[in-house]
């Protein structure tokens, strides 16, 4: 675990550490989780950190907040091998992998400009997760490449 030692991000007392994020996706991970720092939580980000397993990886630590499994599953769309550590009193009390969810709501924007979810209606975007992409349940549009570009901010 040399990689983690090289990371100049202090240990957190309690919260969530999301490790093994695909390089370059840390900010998208935060966007998906709706974390932008305005709630006052301490957020640390490491990008392109050397990793034995991945070559390089990103890592995100969110202090004082335990993320739910369903929140984290959405991450699998852009960071399929991410690992989640829930920290209490400086100890890892739970360790999870992300699971691919069967659907995601309100996270991605439908790329079809003629889709009802892109209009001024009281409806959240809603995608069914396929083996190799996601599909809008309203208009059937499939997104296969670059899901991160479709994250709602």
């Amino acid at each position: 675990m040399t990689a983690d030692r090289e990371l100049r991000v202090s240990k957190i007392s309690s919260g969530t550490v999301i490790d093994h994020i695909t390089s370059g996706q840390a900010l998208n991970v935060l966007a998906i989780l709706g974390i932008d720092g305005t709630d006052g939580e301490v957020v640390s980000i490491g990008m392109n950190v050397p990793s034995d397993r991945l070559g390089t990886k990103d890592i995100v630590k969110v202090e004082g907040r335990e993320l739910s499994q369903s929140e984290l599953d959405v991450l699998s769309l852009i960071a399929p091998v991410a690992t989640i550590n829930i920290i209490r009193d400086y100890d890892v009390v739970e360790k999870h992998r992300v699971d691919r969810p069967t659907e995601v709501t309100g996270v991605l924007q439908c790329p079809n400009h003629n889709c009802i979810t892109t209009e001024d209606e009281p409806v959240d975007s809603h995608f069914e997760v396929l083996d190799d992409g996601v599909r809008c349940v309203y208009c059937d549009t499939i997104i296969r490449e670059d899901l991160a570009a479709h994250i709602l901010v």
Partner: protein
């Protein structure tokens, strides 16, 4: 059939389709039995874009069942123009009617609208999305003229944007059919439709010209290639011209080939085809009434 709403041809099982088509056959055979069956029923018509035919066909259907319509009228005369959301509009109008028919330019509009209402809602076209009652009348016409199982159908024209094509192709996967798609490469089936057909294990073949498969077809379903899909007039003419048929084209076809078209047509089927035994597109349009009567009768069954 037990659906509160009819949003997409995809939701229809073989059993659903057959029960609507069987009832449509009954209605066509003996319309008198169904007259007055839904006395006092009001059908709310919400057409956010003009579609006179579809609207007339629904009006005729509910009136022949003894009911009547309440019509939102054109969008420029309604609250919608003042910026009211679709979700609000349908929640208001459901209070005036026993069922709703919605035509809207945005894909997914009918699905969303259905989430807000308790009365049955029928999608009469959502943008480039679905138009399930067109599909039912297409299936009815095919069943009456050629049968569904064992069918070899050619679907030709604008397969990329044509919503009738997408709905029909999907519905046909409920039957033992071979589907041949004939289009210019730029207007081939979109990937979501191809994905579905693949998922359903459908027998699908794609072609860029009609000639070599025409003799093998039972049904040829022609759709219009629109001018606006092409950057300029000359390219449009060159491409669209290859997907037009006339009586001479059909000499190579089987004698009992059935030619269909969702109408209106422009020049993709020459008028000399009208005089041949192949032409069934006017019959197809007329079938909209018994098929919509059958569907409404199913959906409103609990109200009788």
């Amino acid at each position: 059939m037990r659906h509160d709403h009819v949003i997409s041809a995809k939701q229809l099982t073989r059993g659903d389709i057959e029960s609507v088509l069987d009832r449509a056959s009954d209605i066509a055979a003996d319309p008198g039995t169904y007259a007055g069956r839904h006395q006092g029923t009001l059908l709310g018509l919400l057409f956010f874009e003009p579609s006179t035919r579809t609207k007339m066909s629904f009006s005729a259907a509910i009136k022949r069942l003894g009911g009547d319509v309440v019509d939102m009228g054109p969008v420029d005369a309604s609250s919608v123009k003042k910026g009211e959301s679709l979700a609000d509009t349908v929640r208001v109008i459901e209070g005036y009617a026993d069922a709703l028919v919605l035509r809207h330019p945005s894909e997914g509009s009918a699905k969303m609208a259905a989430e807000y209402v308790d009365v049955p809602l029928i999608n009469a076209g959502d943008g480039a999305g679905q138009h399930p009652t067109q599909t039912l009348l297409d299936l009815y016409t095919i069943r009456e003229n050629a049968g569904l199982d064992g069918l070899r159908i050619g679907i030709m024209g604008d397969l990329k944007y044509g919503r009738t094509v997408h709905s029909l192709a999907h519905a046909l996967t409920n039957f033992e059919t071979t589907q041949h798609f004939v289009s210019p490469e730029t207007l081939a089936l979109p990937r979501n439709v191809r994905y579905d057909l693949h998922e359903e294990g459908a027998s699908v073949k794609e072609h860029t010209d009609l000639e070599h498969i025409l003799p093998d077809l039972d049904v040829l379903y022609v759709t219009r290639i629109q001018r606006e899909r092409f950057p300029d007039e000359s390219e449009y003419r060159a491409v669209a011209g290859q997907y037009q048929i006339d009586a001479e084209t059909l000499e190579a076809a089987a004698d009992d080939l059935v030619v269909m078209h969702p109408l209106p047509r422009v020049d993709e089927i020459a008028s000399d085809v009208d005089e041949t035994e192949h032409a069934r597109y006017f019959e197809q349009a007329h079938n909209g009434v018994p098929v919509r009567m059958a569907l409404l009768d199913h959906l409103l069954e609990g109200d009788r």
